[in-house]
């Protein structure tokens, strides 16, 4: 069964992967990090992406059914995709049967990465991290 590091290394095997993190979207703490960090500082990256993820997770407007996310399906958002000139940033929320508020963040090179594949694989990695 994969732990945090194995899950991040699994994500790094995707084509074009440059860095991967597991981050708490309320505190901004990186629970694990592998590969490069944009700007060179994994902690700053984690804190900034956590703020972005938090706004998405807490958004009533984006939630299915208009806002009252049922308990147990927190957060109501599954993933976020941010595209820049040279990169994709894929943020996948991890649902756990205990209080955790974490997401996987995968940084992909835009030229080499396959966004559709990465999105499917990262979802599988998120599920295995929690369920084994």
């Amino acid at each position: 069964m994969p732990g945090i590091d194995e899950s991040l290394l699994e994500a790094m095997r995707l084509p074009g992967a440059r860095g991967a993190w597991l981050v708490d979207w309320i505190s901004g703490l990186a629970l694990g990090a592998v590969g490069e960090a944009p700007g060179g500082d994994a902690e700053t990256t984690a804190a900034e992406t956590a703020e972005l993820a938090r706004h998405a997770a807490e958004s009533g407007a984006l939630a299915p059914g208009g806002g009252d996310g049922a308990v147990g399906s927190e957060p109501p958002v599954e993933d976020l995709i941010v595209t820049t000139g040279d990169s994709y940033h894929l943020i996948r929320f991890v649902s756990t049967p205990f209080d955790s508020t974490v997401f996987l963040h995968l940084w992909l090179d835009r030229g080499e990465g396959n966004l559709a594949l990465a999105r499917i694989r990262l979802g599988e990695t998120a599920a295995r991290l929690v369920l084994g």
């Binding site: 703490l29 756990t96 205990f98 209080d99 084994g132």
Partner: protein
Amino acid sequence: MTAVRDTTSASLDALAAEAATGALTGERGVFYLAAGRVVHVESAHTPGLGVLLTRGGALAEDGWWEAVDRDGARHRVGRRLVDSGRVAAGALEVCHLGALFDAAYFALAHDPRAHRFRPGAAHWLGALRPVPVATVLRESRRRRDLLHEIWPDPLVDVAPLARVPGARATALPARRARVLDRVDGVRTAADIAEDLAFRTYHTLVELRRLAADGLVTTAPRVPARPGPAAPDPCGTAWDDPDAALLRRLRDALEAL
């Protein structure tokens, strides 16, 4: 050992430099170290790993206690939970780190003095994912700053909390709404965290956001309840034999 005469953070720095193994007890929590790295932290202000796992439904309480009974003395409870298939390795690491940093935040708040270090003492959980001391200290400072940025009133963290009368909450995120539901004029942040099996720091974040939104405030001081256990300091003073004696003495002096 010089380490225990210092504050908790200075003691941890010194123990990390020595690559020490053992348990450092401070006023507000216990840090377990292995080879100078933090393997677990416990604080009375935060729910432990067992509460987080069993109350959330990740693990049946029987399974938790069986693992503690069978492997607690050998400091292998974490490994037992994973090997027996009760909890996924990743889930246990995530929950464990959540509890560790949560307890560390409260154990380091106001950086109290460390009381004692027990060399060689190990935690029954075992080492799951040791964290450098520097990371724990840096994260606790960052968390304090984050709370201050949201709403700079530290009383929200420790006082009984009440809803602001007349304030209406609209479209709160599910998590924040659950925290607000528990604000009743009596419970503190730690009570609410325990009730919800939420990490306490993460509950503080929600409560400070609710305070910033004008929905939650510190509860007014509760007046002392009448009854024999809580005597009125003014009313009963005159029935006190010493007070009566003093009064007679005063009257006698005035009569002179």
